[in-house]
Amino acid sequence: MTAIFINGQPVETGEHTTVLQAALANGFYIPHFCWHPALSIVGNCRVCVVEQEGRGVGIACNMPISDGMRVLTDSDPVRAQRKAMLQFILLNHPVDCGICDKAGECALQDYHYEYNGEPAISGDPKLPSTKFFPLSERILLDNERCILCSRCVRFTREISKSNVLGLEHRGDSMLVRPAEGRTLDDDPYSDNVVDICPVGALLSRSFLYQSRVWYLEPTPSVCPGCARGCTVQLWHRKAEWRVKGLDERHNTRIHRVTPLENPRVNGPWICNKGRDLPELLDRPRATQALQKGETVSLMQAIEAARGLLDQAGKRVALVSSWGSNEELRAFRNSLGDYFTSFVKPDHLPLEGEVVEDDLLIRADKNPNTRAGQDLLGAGVVQIPEDTDLILVWGEGTDFGTLPRGAKILFLGSWLLPENGHADVFIPISIQTERRGHYTNFEGVVSAFEPCQPRRDGVIDAETLFPLLSAPGGSASGGGAA
């Protein structure tokens, strides 16, 4: 354990090896563009300058700690150099914050107000460069805004290991470009470069000009895309900025998904599938309870389901691996005694999707298989031919493969053709409409919060299961465990 002095105050550096890390960990903020905690040190932006007493200024991100060293983060030479550095970085930056999606969460914007705050000294015209260079189907690059910190380049080299991006040319004609014949489409983690870009140079096509960031707020959630269960933030419009004249959907829509840093699960990254979560959740919803294809009220459907439960002799449940821990427990407590239960995969890997890799993506494309199997056993789905009633919870089951004589009670959230083929269909809520927890394949439990209003006509599965087994029907014998 080494002790150094930052601005005259003694600081325990712990396991940190550079002045920047030690300062940030102890509440001394030092501005930085190119340094990122998960990436290697390049020291090319030069704004993290600090003064080592008696030894002049140097960059903190690459300044190794030595015992008893005395560092000043806000002395006059430091301020002067930082200011000059920001002037230099802004030399060819277009300062088009008005139409930049990063504005409001941009490091360059913040540092300019905090540490520079002056108009450009240079009278030279700014150099034009490529606007909207397509790096992939998902990402555009604005070379005028790029400050060449090389975070994106290092990300593809060190984290995603796709080695797609590189820097070409020298000086003020230097550009971030994909390697010859390649695009960022090859990289299943490419959207992370949009997050780590300290300025608005890398733009996500799906979020481009959708909303200013100060109209949005994040809700912590868990990505249901695979068994990793990455913690994410779902960005949706703030209540005080509700739109009234424009399309109402702007108010409830999820505008973008960003990682919620979680060292036990995903670190600071998520994959592109997680970014596409809004598309998955924007599919048409089922909000109408059905009985053999006829519309019935929710209570009638629940009554009918209890009737089915009473009459059936042999019952099998295909339990959703998208149910939260709470729902799975409610199922086991209320209905576990009635059914032979199997946890089924709701989603299988799609064609062309990365099935598994050694960074984040897991082969099981469902968030909560582990919790389901812990509660209900990990048996392989086996439905005897003489089954009377099959409870199908969640999507992904082909009714054609089920025994012909069996009645089907279907709990689903999406508008699917199967809904009408079930004997009873009850619409249930989706992840963004309720709170709950998922247990990932390593057993780490993560919580998600609701960020959309629950649709009319749907019911939480957690509420539904006790209703199905409630006393009143003759199936009440076994009762809750």
Binding site: G98, I99, F132, W214, G245
Partner: protein, 188 residues
């Protein structure tokens, strides 16, 4: 004796009627002739398209007697090619104390100098307080307020007080020495 109190209020211009007025008939005819004369004069001017009819045809016609500093309606300025000068930066919507401005931005990859444009631009006049912050904050001189009132009478009550992009872009500028229009090209 019972005191009779006249509770009628006395006005400063209480009419004092002579016998001619009290006779009623001739004064009524005089009144008819004044009303009818104005009616016929307006009618003639309107039919012949002449100026100076006393009736303003609201909302097609702007009243002539608005105050010089009246700022009753927002307009969006246009580029020489007729597209809005607005870049959909949402600064007006953000600064608006009544939060009445709502903008939906679009992306135009064919115009790299102006890639962001307003697909929809809505102002709710039922809540606008006419403070002019939107004009003050606009970095592009894209929104201004002019000496007019919006044409609000519409058949649809639910959305009648909203003015959209098409309406705001109908401004045909006359002459404004303080703010020349179209604005001069800045240094590239």
């Amino acid at each position: 004796m019972k005191k009779v109190i006249d509770r009628r209020r006395k006005y400063w211009n209480e009419p004092t009627l002579g016998w001619w007025e009290r006779f009623y008939l001739f004064e009524v005819l005089r009144g008819f002739s004044i009303t009818g004369g104005v009616f016929l004069r307006n009618m003639k001017r309107w039919i012949t398209g002449g100026k100076g009819a006393l009736t303003a045809y609201y909302p097609e016609e702007t009243r002539a007697d608005y105050a010089a500093h009246n700022r009753g309606k927002h307009v969006l300025t246009q580029r020489p090619d007729g597209r809005p000068q607005c870049i959909a930066c949402n600064l007006c919507a953000t600064v608006c104390p009544a939060r009445v401005i709502e903008i939906e931005a679009g992306f135009d990859p064919d115009d790299p100098a102006h890639p962001k444009y307003p697909k929809r631009f809505e102002i709710d006049y039922s809540r606008c307080i006419f403070c002019g912050f939107c004009v003050e904050v606009c970095p592009e001189d894209a929104i201004r307020m002019v000496r007019q009132v919006p044409g609000l009478p519409v058949p649809d009550r639910d959305h009648g007080m909203w003015l959209g992009r098409e309406e705001l872009l109908t401004w045909q500028p006359a002459r404004d020495p303080a703010k020349p229009y179209p604005p001069k090209e800045g240094p590239k």
